[in-house]
């Protein structure tokens, strides 16, 4: 009997190609859209998380002024840092890997006929450690260059591209502001961070060179500290606070006039944003699942009502109710499963295509594949089966006369 129902069901599917294709199509669209939607959401989230991790997770940034909510801006009244502060950190604080003083200035970089406005950062070699920069070519500053504040610079990929096109910049001289300096290194491209900020848009020079030639002061506007792996950033933050309250003569009960920002906290904030993004995409996916489900439902209902007469004929010539139902069940299962499988393939293809086109990582989410498949096929089966059940329990003559 099962074999009979199976062969009858397959016959019906083959006979009614258009109806079968429409049914399958409804399920394909439902499954494929959900899979593509959720997996592209995952890909975006992974991409964002990835670029956040490039910021460095064990990094503390010491800035003058009190911590403010909203966009970061310097508290102009607070005292800046100086070289002694950097030395004090190196001397007093345990568990740190790198201490990079940092001052910056907006400059126009010129090479030949090309000019480009960028930011010049004055720092030391710890800067490359703390920010996890790698070199494509060239090398770090030498100790003598740092001490003397020589006119040398290391440039980011964006600056290289703007000024040199396809040419190698190493050894050439570019003009920064009114001073010329020799390019001795090129940093490896990091890509834009999640805020849309181009991390490769920079020129790094020895701190002393920046102070003398561009800012004209001995001040350091912030200090980036990289904590050793396995050392808690919280305890380092606390040590830094105590050290600087002392160095800046802040009395008990007075507020700090500086603050330490932990990149870990920023990453947490950003992560919660991407989690929201994922949830939003999940909601969109859920809606498309329901919409797809309604599509499947419609096609199944329409075709089954159309088939009430067919059920009447089958009953009249002696089919058992359960034989008719089994046939419809097999038909629904075959169509729904086929649609589900094609939907999964299509969804994966869309995801692969889009992730390739936008250079996103491909993240396989088995959970959503299973969920979308089960949900859509279940709807297909339920709405294929139950209207048929209604028709098959009618008096044969009523089913036959059904218009």
């Amino acid at each position: 009997m099962l074999w009979n129902a199976f062969s009858l069901a397959l016959r019906e599917i083959r006979r009614n190609v258009l109806r079968s294709i429409l049914t399958i199509l409804g399920i394909v669209i439902g499954v494929a859209s959900v899979i593509a939607m959720v997996m592209l959401g995952d890909a975006t989230t992974a991409q964002v998380t990835n670029s956040i991790s490039k910021l460095g997770s064990n990094m503390l940034i010491l800035s003058p002024g009190q911590e403010k909510q909203g966009p970061q801006s310097q508290d102009q009244s607070a005292k800046l840092f100086d070289a002694d502060d950097v030395k004090a950190i190196q001397r007093e604080i345990n568990g740190i890997k790198a201490v990079a003083p940092l001052s910056s200035s907006s400059v126009t970089a010129v090479y030949g006929n090309e000019n480009y406005t960028t930011t010049a950062y004055g720092s030391n070699n710890d800067y490359f450690i703390a920010k996890e920069w790698e070199f494509v070519e060239g090398e770090k500053f030498s100790q003598s260059e740092l001490k003397a504040g020589k006119s040398v610079c290391i440039i980011g990929e964006t600056v290289r591209e703007e000024l040199f096109g396809s040419q190698s910049p190493l050894g050439t001289k570019i003009r920064i502001g009114s001073f010329s300096c020799k390019v001795k290194g090129l940093l490896k491209e990091k890509g834009s961070a999640s805020f849309g900020m181009d991390q490769d848009d920079l020129v790094v020079v020895p701190l002393k060179m920046l102070q003398r030639r561009l800012t004209g002061t001995q001040d350091i506007s912030s200090i980036t500290i990289s904590v050793k792996d396995g050392v808690a950033t919280d305890s380092v933050t606390e040590s830094l606070r105590l050290l600087f309250r002392d160095r800046r003569n802040i009395k008990d009960g007075e507020d700090d006039d500086f603050h330490v920002r932990d990149m870990k906290d920023i990453i947490e904030t950003l992560s919660s944003t991407t989690k929201m993004l994922t949830m939003l995409l999940g909601a969109v996916a859920a809606i498309s699942l329901v919409v797809g489900g309604i599509g499947i439902m419609n096609i199944m209902l329409v075709s089954v009502i159309e088939r009430t007469r067919e059920i009447g004929i089958r009953l009249a010539i002696g089919a058992f109710e359960r034989e008719v139902l089994l046939q419809f069940l097999v038909e629904s299962v075959v169509l729904a499963a086929l649609g589900g499988i094609i939907g999964i393939i299509l969804g994966l293809l869309i995801t692969v295509g889009v992730t390739n086109a936008f250079d996103l990582p491909f993240v396989l989410n088995e959970g959503i594949i299973v969920l979308a498949f089960l949900f859509s096929t279940l709807i297909g089966i339920v709405f294929g089966y139950f209207p048929a059940k209604k028709a098959a329990t009618m008096n044969p003559i009523d089913a036959l006369r059904h218009e």
């Binding site: 009997m1 009979n4 009858l8 016959r11 006979r15 009614n16 007469r309 067919e310 009447g312 004929i313 089958r314 009953l315 009249a316 010539i317 002696g318 089919a319 058992f320 109710e321 359960r322 034989e323 008096n395 044969p396 003559i397 009523d398 036959l400």
Partner: protein, 234 residues
Amino acid sequence: MSSEQALISLKSISKVYGEGAAKTYALKGIDLEIHDGEFVAIMGASGSGKSTAMNIIGCLDSQSEGTYFFKGIDVKELNRNQKALLRRNYFGFIFQGFNLLGRTSALENVELPLIYRGVPESERLKSTKEALIKVGLEEVADHTPAELSGGQQQRVAIARAIATNPIVILADEPTGNLDSVKSKEVMELLKSFNETQGITIIMVTHEEDMAAYADRIIVFKDGLIENDKISGGA
């Protein structure tokens, strides 16, 4: 009628549609006996209850009151599957609207009741082909109903009805959608099955010409049997 047990025996059968004020009687308690091998024509105006009576005989519908014995079995005692078995094993149906499965070849349409009967494939194909030969359609076995004329479609339906070697063929206005030439062909076929194979035929019609093929003509009026006479046959 003879004293032997009737094949079909209706006792005070009535059929009610609707409830309360909308309650209407399609049959108002009819008694009828039909014996094995008869060719019966049921006539009457539309709404006279003739089709309802036939649907009850064919177990496609059930009576509201009264008792229906088929081969001595009280049909009211049967469940849906047992009724399906009666239809499967003893009845062949021919409808005015043919009621063939669309997009399905003549061969597969005729084969269908045999599939439900569980006849093995080789035997099934043999019976199907024989039935198609009997109605003269072996040439168009692979055509779908849409590719066949009305007369051919009705002959496919007849082949489907006889393929299972039923003991009764129930034909509801079998010539209702056909012209006179095709109608004659269909009637000749039915007559020959009745005569050569002894199949009992019960046919609903409102055409005198068609009823003339039958041995017995029963006339329905307003849910009652108005007249029941043995005719000479055509």
